[in-house]
Symmetry: C2
Subunit: 136 residues, 2 copies
DNA sequence: TTAAAGTCTCTAGTGGACTAGAGAGTCAAG
DNA sequence: CTTGACTCTCTAGTCCACTAGAGACTTTAA
């Protein structure tokens, strides 16, 4: 066995990513085995490790695998994807801001509703819970 | 056709909820048809309308259908679910606070990363994008 | 009576990132 | 040569709230 190539179990051990997930990533085209043993075992270059670190890092920053794949495609064309990464992250902050807005609005609504929750429950008016009236 | 009963299309028209969704809700046990026509068409009591309003309202406040179902079950036992609704909403604010924390932390991380983004891309060091080092 | 509109059941697909299991084949060491 | 660890492919399931489609039947109005 060529000492510089890694079997999938070794990749799992060194990356912390489960084997089925690695195969799943391969299916998506995020990583690929450089070769197979005669018996069909995947052999990975050690270069797969920084690649997986990149994937995990961007995933932890909120990027989807599809977005990450686009960035890896740039890398695979021989370019440094840093500028594109920066773009993706900027865009992600915008989505994040939007999402934060929504959740904060929801929180405001919930807090207000709970603040004004009556001490005594109003009479049943056929609406399941009469406190929950205002549906704007 | 008994004038006080509604066919599913009328429920859709008056609630704004799509027919397949209504059937889906029925499957989950959130609503039920009081009877069927001889030909098998569902007939709903008009009471389904406040019930659907309740569902939509709580859904808009972030509750899952499973949580809503638990509240409806209280109603169906003949009790006012207001106190349980209040509890659910309180709990939801907590989950929401947690989620907001996470997203804000993520935003901080993203902002910091972008703030400190180098004007000139560092040399390629085999990590796909050398700017993305710190993976704590 | 017929046509159009409405409704039925049932199955399967969506998105996103996996996870689980069956059943078979492979590799390295003893 | 056998054992045990490792790996393979393939299918299917998870979560959640729907959505779409096929093919058949019912209802109502003209």
């Amino acid at each position: 066995m060529p000492y510089e190539l890694l079997l999938i179990g070794q990749v799992q051990a060194q990356s912390g990513i489960a084997i089925p997930t690695l195969r799943y990533y391969e299916g998506l085209g995020l990583i690929k085995a450089v070769s197979r043993t005669p018996g069909g075992f995947r052999q990975f270059s050690p270069q797969v490790l920084p690649r997986l670190a990149f994937i995990k890092r961007l995933q932890s920053l909120g990027l989807s695998l599809a977005e990450i794949q686009a960035l890896l495609a740039i890398h695979d064309r021989g370019q440094l994807p840093c500028t594109a990464v920066q773009e993706s992250l900027k865009q992600k902050t915008q989505v994040l801001d939007q999402r934060l807005e929504e959740l904060q609005e929801l929180k405001r609504e919930l807090d207000e509703l709970l603040d004004q929750w009556p001490a005594t429950t109003p009479a049943d008016n056929g609406t399941i819970c009469p406190v929950l009236q205002p549906v704007p």
